[in-house]
Every structure is written in structure tokens, then in C-alpha cells.
């Protein structure tokens, strides 16, 4: 068990692709860290650098206080679970799990003991004599886990280990992996592009984009206080609504305008957010889908909208709303310095109760939850939240 530290780690592939940019990240002992981000953002590359499968171009990587930039993979004491499991086809389950120990010349009874123990944790005991090809996808996945567990390594690395499983099994293994990680208390770095996995499994979640780390925080913190438009739009399903609005001061009241809508911003946001400098200009107004509810009666901050589309998910209904032709909520691609644009969607989504009375084409009045407004700088995308002091 050990701490893993990235200190301004850079990875440039031969050919010039900059896959990871000055990544600084500390994974504490026993912590479950999830790396999440869209495809191609450098998650796998970061993970492979820890394992030693990829050279580090610049910066310092250390495991348990030892700098490992030039340490061979076999000397790093790291176990990895691969996306396609990479089980050795010619070996039985038991041999697969014991292989790393055999390579390290552990005594045979010690290997047996650890394999048995891991098999018990993973409920694989009855399959120990089988070859991988005679196992189901979920069982193979568990063998891959077992191969990592028996090592009793400094850290587990997992690269989208659940992406080859069907939806139901994925949910099952999600809790299974979390359970085992808690049980063993080994630092784990888990790569996924599935934000549900990220939110449910991680002690902390690191969001990456185009090789750069955006934010590291607990799932709740990430959800409540995204540091920028990208994280806001990435985390949550459906993600946060991002509306480009003009901000005005009307008789001492802050008002957001988009389309024919006027939204009064509670005064408290004047201090909690750096809005003053943007009065008279535009801001990106962020609102989570669940912070919109059907209004019954007057009072509060209200929106009038037309329901374009309605999705009933059983436990809830999603309503996709529009605010008239010149609402200012259009599909937008906002270019960013790093070359990867941020997308703002054209429709606002509201997450409503399962029994909510909404119809496609109908008009609705919605009340906004004034406690959970988010504001971002339209130029940089950065959150305007004043850092809590």
C-alpha cells in the first residue's frame, strides 16, 4: 500500500501527440481514485505510465515515496486489470491467478493459499480448474481481478474493466469491485469514461480533458461545485443545462435574460460569485435538470417553456424544453485554447417526477431551485464561484 504521486507529469508520444499535460495528482494510501473524461483525453496513458508500460516524457512519478520514472514495470509492484482482461489462454484460472507469484518465485503453498483466498473473495472457487475460454464474461472479469488481488500489490490499476460487460452485470461488478477495494484497502486508480461509474465508485474523481486535469474532488463536490463548464457538462446524467444569458442590474436586482425569459438571481450570489464584473455582459448560467420543477401556484423564480420532447424513464420523466425562437439557447461549440471545443446544448432538460403531467408541445411553468445556480465565464468557461474562505 502506498501513495502514488504525479508531479507535473507529461507524456508526448513519438509523433508529437501530447497525451498528458503537466498532470499533478496525488492518490492517497487506500484511496479509490477514478480517472474520468471523454475518449482520447489521456486516461489510459496516465494509467500506463504508473504501470511503467509507457515512458514518462517529463515530470516525476513516485509510488510509495520512490521515484519510479526509470523503474521497470516488474519492479513497481503494481497490479493491473485490463479492459479485455488479458487472461493467459493456456493456463487455468488458478494458474492465471498464481502466475505473477510463480514468476516471483514464491513457495508453492503460499501461492495456493493466496489463490484460494482470492477465489473465495471473488466466488471463483469452483472454477479454479477451468480455462478462461470456458468462462462467462463476468467470471473472466473476476479472474482478472483475482490476478491482481493475489499479488497484494502497492496499487491496483484498472482500465475500463467493466466496459465489456452487459448493463446488469456492470452494475453488479461495480459494487463488487468497490467492496473488494474497501476490504483490501489498496490504493486503486480506476479509469472509465462512464460518469456513473465515476460517481458511484470513487472516493475522489479526477476529471480530465484533452490531456489536462480539470478537477479532482469527491463525487458530491464535483457535482455541486464544478470548477468549469466542461466538468459541469460532463458530470451528471443528463448533464447540467448551460445557458448563455445576459446579466443585468435592474433597480438593484440581478436579472438573467435569455429569450423572453427573465430570471431574478437572489442577492446572495453577488457575494458567493464574482458576478459584479460581468454585469451588462453575458454569463453562462448553469442549472441541473433536477433543479427545475413543475410550478404549482405563484411564487419563486419561474420559467415558461414549451415541451419539445418527453422521455419517461419509469422512475422519472425528462422534459426537453425550448423558450421560443430567439431564446439564445442554441447548439454552440465554444472554441477553447486547447483546441477541444466545449458544447452547449440547444435544449434545456428538466428532470421531473414520474407522475409529472407534461405533454409534447404543451406549455409548462417551471420553478427554479434558487439555491443551486451555477455561473461560468463565457470566455474561459471557469466557474465564477468565489473560493470559499
Amino acid at each position: 500500500m502506498a501513495e502514488i504521486v504525479f508531479d507535473r507529469v507529461v507524456k508526448v508520444y513519438p509523433g508529437g501527440t501530447k497525451a498528458v499535460e503537466e498532470l499533478s495528482l496525488t492518490v492517497a494510501e487506500g484511496e479509490f481514485m477514478v480517472l474520468v473524461g471523454p475518449s482520447g483525453c489521456g486516461k489510459t496513458t496516465a494509467l500506463r505510465m504508473i504501470a511503467g508500460l509507457e515512458e514518462i516524457t517529463d515530470g516525476v512519478m513516485s509510488i510509495g515515496g520512490t521515484i519510479v520514472n526509470n523503474v521497470l514495470p516488474k519492479d513497481r509492484d503494481i497490479a493491473m486489470v485490463f479492459q479485455n482482461y488479458a487472461l493467459y489462454p493456456q493456463m487455468t484460472v488458478a494458474q492465471n491467478m498464481g502466475f505473477a507469484l510463480k514468476v516471483r518465485k514464491l513457495p508453492k503453498d503460499e501461492i495456493d493459499r493466496r489463490v484460494q483466498e482470492a477465489a473465495k473473495i471473488l466466488r471463483l472457487t469452483e472454477y479454479l480448474g477451468r480455462r478462461p475460454k470456458a468462462l462467462s464474461g463476468g467470471q473472466r472479469q473476476r479472474v482478472a481481478m483475482g490476478r491482481a488481488i493475489v499479488r497484494e500489490p502497492q496499487a491496483f490499476l484498472m482500465d475500463e474493466p467493466l466496459s465489456n460487460l452487459d448493463a446488469q452485470l456492470r452494475v453488479e461488478m461495480r459494487t463488487e469491485i468497490t467492496r473488494i477495494q474497501r476490504l483490501l484497502g489498496v490504493a486503486t486508480i480506476y479509469v472509465t469514461h462512464d460518469q456513473t461509474e465515476a460517481m458511484t465508485m470513487g472516493d475522489r474523481v479526477a476529471v480530465m480533458r484533452a490531456g489536462a486535469l480539470q478537477q479532482v474532488a469527491t463525487p458530491q463536490d464535483l457535482y455541486d461545485h464544478p470548477v468549469n463548464e466542461f466538468v459541469a457538462g460532463f458530470i451528471g446524467s443528463p448533464p447540467m443545462n448551460l445557458i448563455l444569458a445576459s446579466l443585468q442590474d435592474q433597480d438593484g436586482e440581478l436579472v438573467l435574460r435569455f429569450g423572453d425569459q427573465n430570471v431574478v438571481v437572489p442577492a446572495s450570489y453577488r457575494t458567493s460569485h464574482r458576478l459584479a464584473e460581468l454585469i451588462g455582459a453575458r454569463v453562462v448560467f448553469g442549472l441541473r435538470p433536477e433543479d427545475l420543477e413543475l410550478a404549482s401556484g405563484e411564487g419563486g423564480v419561474l420559467l415558461e417553456a414549451t415541451v419539445d420532447l418527453r422521455e419517461a424513464l419509469g422512475s422519472e420523466k425528462l422534459a426537453y424544453l425550448s423558450f421560443g425562437a430567439d431564446s439564445g439557447i442554441v447548439e454552440q461549440e465554444i472554441p477553447r485554447d486547447d483546441g477541444v471545443p466545449v458544447r452547449r446544448r440547444s435544449r434545456v432538460v428538466a428532470r421531473l417526477g414520474a407522475r409529472a403531467d407534461v405533454h409534447e408541445g404543451g406549455r409548462v411553468t417551471l420553478r427554479l431551485n434558487v439555491d443551486n445556480f451555477h455561473f461560468f465565464d463565457p470566455e474561459t468557461g471557469a466557474s465564477l464561484r468565489a473560493v470559499a474562505s
Binding site: 508500460l53 516488474k74 503494481i78 493491473m80 479485455n84 488479458a86 493456456q90 502466475f99
Partner: protein
Amino acid sequence: MSVVSSPMSVRVTSSRRRVVTRTAIFFAMVLMAIVMLYPFFVMLVTSFKTQNQYLTGHGTSTQSWRQLASTLPVYQQLLNSTIVCTASIAIILVVGVMAGFAFAKLQYRFGNLVFLGMVSAMMVPLQAIVIPEYVNVARFGLTNGYLGAVLVYAALGTPFSIFLFTTYFRRVPDELIEAGIVDGLGYWGVLWRLALPMALPAIATVTVLQFIQIWDDLLVGLLFLQNPAERPITVGLAALAAGRTTSIPQLMAGSLVSALPAMIVYLGFQRFLVRGLTLGIDR
């Protein structure tokens, strides 16, 4: 009713047609087997005659078998063939496995170019290079002794072996090798403990094909193994056939003896061989 019965009748005719096809194939194969086995049958029958009995066509005798060892040093020559075969195949396998793994899995400059060069060597027939090869080997003084022939056979067999192992190892996923590395192996360990066990069918294929090729070869043995004591069985038989008083039954007995090892090896490894040759077709 007719609606129900029509698919039924289709099924009946189609299954009947299948029986007919299968029977036809079966008889065609029996016919081919007869054509293939007939020479062996003739060899066997003829070897149990004396020269006179062979000419007149009547009677049997075990004379040619009893005298075989005295006219022809069969045992020594079988041993010679075995030594040359084993040594050549060992070189072909070792070079093939290592080069194949390197070409398939290690990235290095001009790797593909070198690979193409190697593989194109498969297209060069022995006959085209045999004279300069002979001159070379003779200059090194290797025409007496096994080494010259072994090296020539190895050189001829290696390109195919490299090609087969390269295509084989290319199908081994990178992640598997990386899993091995994370599990504590170095490149040698990966080759020895992961890649090699997976390559067993390819090893069997190369072994069988090369064994048959080298065992049955005459030209190289004739040219590069000039010391009569080191002659392989094929050369011995050729010498016997070229003699002035050739006993046909003895020649047949010798031929049977020389054909046997190649057949045994082929039949023994046949299962792997087929798997190896259809490599790359699936998936």
C-alpha cells in the same frame, strides 16, 4: 394441407440430396486414397520377393529384407538423416521463434522492411542458388561433415518459419504481453513463458513441414554430404538405384524404411498441422 406439406417435402429432398452428396464425396475420397496408397502397396509386395521372383512375378521371399543392411548401411544412414533433420529443425525453430516474436511485437526501425526481405527469401528456389551456395560452403570446407548441410537446410527453412511465427505472434494481443510484464516478466520471460506455449501449433507445423522437406530431400544431401559415412538415407537409396546391379525388391525395402519416419511424424502431428496451416483464416 398443401401449405403444410410443401416445406416438409423440401426438407426431405434436401436431406436426400445431402446423403447423395456425402456418398459421392466418400467414394471420391476412397478412390483418392487407393491412388495414394497403391505405390506403398506395390513397394510392400515387391520388397517381399527376390529379384527373380520380381521379374517372373511369382513367389515371395524375405531375402531382400534380410540382406538390406549389408547392401546398404540403412541404420547409419537413418541416423545421419535424423541428425541432419533434428539439427536443422532446431536452428529453424529457434531462429523462427525469436525473429517472429521480434517482428511481431517489438517496435524498431525498419522492422517491416527487414521482415519483407526475410519473407521474400521464401520465393527463392533452392535450385537457383545451389551452385553459389555450394561454392561458399566448399570454401569454408564444410562439405565433409553434417554442418554444411545443416546450415543450408536451416537457411532454406528459416524464412518460412519466421513468416509463420510472425503471423502467429501478431495475433497475440499486446495486452496479454503487457499483463505478463506487469506480472513481473521481462521480454525473455514473455517469450519463453507466454508466447512459446501459445505458439505450440506453429511449432508443430514448422517441425512437420520441415521434417518432411528435409528428410525427403536429395539434392542438398547429395551435394553437401560427400563423406559416404554421413550420407542420409535418400542419398543412399539414390546410390543404390544408380548401381549397376540394382535389386528392385531391395530398393523397395529401403524406400519403405526411408518413407516410414516422415509418415510417422506426419500422422503424429497431423492434427496440429491442420490447425497451424489455417491460421489467420478465422477471426
